[in-house]
Amino acid sequence: MDLSYIITTFLRVGAGLGTTLKLFFITILASLPLGFLITMMTRCAVPPLRWLARCFVYLMRSTPLVLQLLFLYFGLPFLPVVGVYFSTMGRFTATVWGFVLNYAAYFAEIFRGGLLAVDPGQYEAAKVLGLTRRQTILRIVAPQMLRVAMPSISNETITLVKDTSLMFTLAVPEVLQFAKSAVSSTGKTFPFVVAGIIYLLMNLVITWLLKVLEKRFDY
């Protein structure tokens, strides 16, 4: 195994890195706020909204992500009436939707636990100081909830890096896909090792970033 083979393999498998990172960042950036919104919905005063949010979380957490991806891409276009709107949805778009919705449900559950850890006295103090509900949630409750939720959020984030390989399900070309095709065309398993190294490196960087972030919540 010479150096140029190693480099070409890295380049070949690394070609999928763009898609992998794109899915990772879209999912994180969209599912965290969406998850928080769902948490708020599960606590809202309007019963139908509450039930809707709870059903959504249950559905998303109780079925496999792979199945959700397959359903979004292959199943939705066959729905009566609304199906046509989904028939032109691309593989990557379907994957993004699946990931965002799935991860939002997990984050919603993590946030719910975090909210339970916030002392009710905090809401009362905010109220007598004259803060609006919005200010109370965003400036008082959310930061305290995040501190409690941070370790679980870190965990999910690292899982997400690995889960991006589930794009494989819809044959979206990402790191694992490129590794697989390199293995099939050359008959060598080294590209799989390369894929493994790429995931390791991504998580190394992300673990470090999360550590820095967790420190900021240390008070």
């Binding site: 905090q122 103090a125 905010a126 007598v128 100081l129 004259g130 919540f217």
Partner: protein
């Protein structure tokens, strides 16, 4: 005209009546000590006055403006404006743990007073007043209970309230630390701050209050000057209660 007027206030939790026909008035500069046995409704009374509980009936008027009128509340803006003139200090401090001492004072003030420029300066003045200027950049977790409560008092004073409500401000404290909090409250009383203080500190009620309300089963069983209440209670219930508490 009294600053705060409470008339026939009623509140129950489910089928449990907690406040029954509570009426009293507070003049500007009054320091009212509210005493009474556990469960007599002292906290509930304070919480109703500052809108943490919704009453079932009665009137509350602040400086002539109705906060509650025959059990119903004015529109949210009027309500908010009135509540902005009151401050409250809790037994459990309720400082915001993710903010430093200075931020605990400044941030809520700036959130509720858009465009305010004097936050920093006010914060310094009030922290100095409660003797904690050197703790400005510290997080609450690093403070003793007494220090936390002094910060909580300073925080409540940021919006320059015209009346301060205290719900057992020293009950969660180590007995050695109650003095520093009571000293601040005494100082406020001397500055003629209008105060309504639920307390088990009979010495404070006796020598800092201008009037004492004795609550029993959701009603004001007796009301008078500290002198009257502590030396010659008219109601045998008052005498019994005072006999049961350490002075």
């Amino acid at each position: 005209m009294p600053f705060l007027e409470v008339r026939q206030l009623k509140k129950s939790f489910g089928s449990l009546p907690v406040l029954e026909d509570v009426s009293f008035t507070v003049e500007r500069g009054d320091v009212i000590a509210v005493i009474g046995a556990s469960g007599s409704g002292k906290s509930t009374l304070l919480r109703c006055l500052i809108d943490l509980e919704t009453v079932d009936g009665g009137w509350v008027t602040i400086d002539g403006e109705p906060l509650i009128s025959d059990g119903s509340y004015p529109d949210p803006r009027a309500r908010r404006a009135l509540l902005g003139r009151m401050g409250m200090v809790f037994q459990s401090f309720n400082l915001f743990p993710h903010m430093t001492v200075a931020q605990n004072l400044i941030r809520p003030y700036e959130m509720t007073t858009p465009g305010a420029r004097d936050g920093q300066e006010k914060c310094r003045r009030l922290l100095d007043k409660v003797g904690l200027l050197d703790k400005a950049e510290v997080y609450p977790s690093k403070l003793s209970g007494g220090q936390k409560q002094r910060v909580a008092i300073a925080r409540a004073l940021m919006k320059s309230p015209e009346i301060m409500l205290f719900d057992e401000p020293t009950s969660a404290l180590d007995p050695l630390l109650t003095g520093e909090v009571l000293a601040i409250m005494r100082q406020l009383a001397e500055e003629r701050m209008t105060m309504l203080v639920v307390t088990h500190e009979m010495s404070f009620a006796r020598d800092a209050a201008t009037r004492v309300l004795f609550m029993k089963d959701g009603t004001i069983a007796e009301e008078g000057t500290p002198e009257e209440i502590f030396t010659a209670p008219k109601n045998p219930e008052t005498a019994a209660f005072l006999g049961s508490v350490p002075r």
